[in-house]
Amino acid sequence: MDNILLKISDLHAEVAGKEILKGVSLTIGKGEVHAVMGPNGAGKSTLSAVLTGKPGYKVTSGEIEFMGRNLLEMSAEERAWAGIFLSFQYPIEIPGVSITNFMKAAVNACRKARGEKELTPSEFLRLMKEKMAFVKMKGEFAKREVNVGFSGGEKKRNEIFQMAMLEPVMAILDETDSGLDVDALKIVSDGVNALRSPDRSAIIITHYKKLLEYVVPDMVHILKDGRIVLTGGRELIDRIETGGFEGIE
Amino acid sequence: MKHLYLIGRDEIPSDIVLTSQEEHQLILLALPGVSADVPVNIRLAGEGAVIDVFGLYLNFGKERVSFRVNLRHESGHCRSRQLFKGIVGAEAQVEFDGLIYVAKGAQKTSAFQENHSILLSDRALVQTRPQLEIYADDVECSHGATIGKLSEDELFYMRSRGIPEKEARALQMRSFISAVVERIEDEQIRQMIYDKLSQCQA
């Protein structure tokens, strides 16, 4: 069982008194990429919110174990320190805060929590440059205010950039492919693929197959009405593409 | 409920209380020749109440007009919107004093207030005091106020299309007050406003 990274057991969760997740169970092993697909309103984003500890989402029953720890007892930042990263479906604008400052705060907080030394300014700068090149962002990007005035594609690239900076153990990509043109999709998928390793896992939440053509998942789950109704290999993707979510129960 | 009051003709209720889910629209008109002190106290006392207040003032003489709006959000989930616009010339003096008060616990309040004036003479005076007094945090409140003149660029644009200056200015003024005037359903009153406007020598 050493190989298990994340184990979700019979998870029930509600938002504003309405039950959205109605018994989700999902196990993700180290190094695995899982896709979670499903129609609008299936509970995909609720799942990512619950995994990352977003306020306002209430878990009514069930368990989540992450690297042997009870995830539900951890605050949002503690989960980040443990290596969980969410690529937001709608990245948040933070006016007046530069990407550099934002990343400095995040990287050092994570390092500190893990008992590592804070980066020196030159180490940090080197890391920024390397990761910016990785997502094909130009120099002035570092000075820009977090997501302020970014196009949809830039926002998503910024998420991938941050993911590369923080090198998470478990990346959750929530609809990262929506609204991306082919070039941006390529950058995003290259970013995700580059992070693939025997120690790192990912959950890709989407309702299109586009991204999954570039980032090939090990397992595919179909989420419908708050439950995982079907689990299989990548062959499920084509089934959805042709038949949609209608016939799957 | 929609009410239109012509200041000087109609008696304006000075205290308005809205209970839960009640919706109200209020239009206050101060037309040329009328001096008045207009206190309006509105209490949104029940959850989910909604009020829209529109005001228009056109004063081109020696009028003294003063609006004193005290709009109190006492319950949560209420919405208020105020829009006061006016044109002030000659020796007229107009004062707008508008308070949005949000009581402690009146969460999910949204309150907006705008007051815009055009000043036509250096013997006239406009004073605006938009105030926010807020004791709840989950709110969206804003106010905006301007005192200015008709846009010279706009005027030039119209004249370059052959519209005589006087007519162009009248058009600009019509356009300035249109956001309030379009709320008025009574066609006769709308016509009266436009007639008064054309009497004004900008």
Partner: protein
């Protein structure tokens, strides 16, 4: 870490006001109380000329006829003006009267204020350091005087440049302007004086640092700045005080005269002791600051970061008299726990083509009250005048208040005045975005607030900006979670 340990740690760090220490020095006090005799005593201690004593007594007469203003959105504790010591000065060593007491030097060094000149480094700042009622050191006087710049304590200016002081004193803030200005005019003890002659660009930033140390006292300093035609100056002001359970009064006056085409930038980082988490103690900061853009094309810029004081009553203002003169007011005011701030500006447009801009960011947390209060007045004749104001308030928690009280008054048909204000709470989405990246709540609040205030912070001189950013975060500790 266990939750309790975290709470203890938070309690421990949240209370930290690192400037709250007391310096042990022998002080020279006058008896407490306020009357003509006391005023004569202060004047005599300072060896003042008759005209200045007359000025003080006249102001005292006016003050006695006035009432403490109550129009601000503040609950001022009862101030017993007879229970205050109006003059306290560290005793001079009789053997070495010209040297700075090492204890004082150490105090200012600890506060990060060098009172001894260092070798000319880049970004060097000249300082006038005021300790209770007296200026203890003014650095770089010699260097500056080579260009004709006068930078010294107010007391020295009275002795060495009486004509200049007499010409400009109370020319911007008349002694009877308001209750606290009248009080200051009667009892002021020291402060800074700065004169930049025609066409001189001051080669370094000048600053005043005010330190209250003695208990039972108040600080009443006066700053007078004159920039002649074409002169430029960047001036900074900082202040701190020990932690005490009593409220201490600080009633200062700042007057700035800006000549034709001159440019003065006045920056303040106000970090007086704010009182403890239960609202005990703290400085009552009741200050009158005003400048006049006297000549054509004069420019005066105010930037303030207000994080300290139990009560702040302060409205740095500009009279735009010269045609085409301009002024700005950039402000960040943070209140936490039981702090109260009522602050803003007045922009009085008299000259043609005058321009002003107001940017105010209020941040309220805890059980504090934070108000913006402003006046923009456009007089007839101020043709082409323009003002733009933007006042935003941010609320952190449901127990605080945020208020906006502007007055806009125009009688000039050729002027344009615009005012906008918004009030909202700190965004939960932004907080979650930060915490998801591993930034802890408290730090996230600091980061977001610093971003919110960036437009103002970016106006500060470099040395001040870093300090101010830290202060914003420290001031808001304990405001969430």
């Amino acid at each position: 870490m266990a939750a309790e340990e975290k709470d203890i740690l938070k309690e421990f760090t949240g209370q930290e006001y690192k400037e709250g220490f007391v310096t042990q020095v022998e002080q020279d006090y006058i008896p407490k109380g306020l009357n003509e005799q006391i005023i004569r005593m202060i004047s005599e201690k300072k060896g003042e000329p008759q005209w200045l004593l007359d000025f003080r007594l006249d102001a005292f007469g006016k003050w006695q006829k006035m009432r403490q203003p109550d129009w601000a959105h503040l609950h001022l504790p009862q101030i017993d003006y007879q229970d205050i010591i109006y003059y306290a000065a560290p005793k001079k060593n009789s053997q070495r009267p010209t040297e700075i007491d090492p204890a004082l030097e150490e105090t200012f060094e600890k506060l990060g204020i060098p009172v001894k000149e260092r070798k000319a480094l880049a970004g060097v700042v000249a300082v006038d350091a005021v300790f209770d009622s007296v200026s203890v050191a003014t650095t770089f006087r010699e260097t500056l005087s080579k260009q004709g710049i006068i930078f010294c304590s107010f007391s020295e200016a009275v002795k060495d440049h009486p004509d200049l002081v007499r010409k400009y004193l109370s020319s911007v803030v008349p002694s009877g302007d308001n209750y606290f200005a009248a009080l200051n005019s009667a009892v002021f003890s020291d402060g800074s004086f700065c004169y930049i002659p025609k066409g001189v660009h001051c080669p370094m930033d000048l600053s005043s640092y005010f330190r209250i140390n003695a208990s039972g006292t108040g600080q009443f300093e006066r700053t007078l700045i004159v920039a002649e035609e074409g002169a430029t100056l960047s001036y900074m002001e900082g202040c701190t005080a020990p932690m005490r359970d009593e409220n201490q009064l600080h009633a200062a006056v700042v007057e700035i005269v800006v000549g034709k085409d001159a440019d003065v930038k006045y920056s303040t980082v106000q970090n007086w002791y704010p009182g403890d988490a239960n609202g005990r103690g703290g400085i009552l900061n009741l200050v009158t600051k005003r400048g006049i853009c006297k000549g054509e094309g004069a420019h005066l810029s105010w930037t303030q970061v207000e994080t300290g004081s139990a009560v702040t009553w302060k409205y740095p203002s500009t009279i735009l008299k010269g045609d085409y003169s301009s002024s700005e007011f950039y402000s960040v005011a943070v209140t936490n726990n039981y702090q109260q701030a009522d602050t803003g500006t007045k922009m009085i447009h008299l000259g043609k083509g005058t321009k002003s801009r107001i940017v105010s960011k209020g941040i309220s947390a805890g059980k504090s009250e934070n108000s913006y209060r402003g006046l923009v007045r456009i007089n007839p004749g101020a043709e082409g005048a323009r003002n733009y104001s933007q006042c935003d308030s941010l609320l952190i928690g449901s127990q605080c208040g945020a208020h906006t009280f502007p007055v806009i008054r125009s009688s000039c048909p050729d002027a344009i005045v615009e005012h906008e204000a918004t009030t909202s709470k700190i965004s939960e989405d932004q907080l979650f975005y930060c915490t998801q990246r591993g930034i802890a709540q408290e730090e996230a609040v600091g980061l977001i607030v610093n971003g919110y205030a960036r437009e103002v912070l970016s106006r500060l001189p470099m040395e001040f900006a870093v300090e101010a950013q830290k202060l914003l975060s420290v001031s808001l500790e304990g405001s969430v979670g």
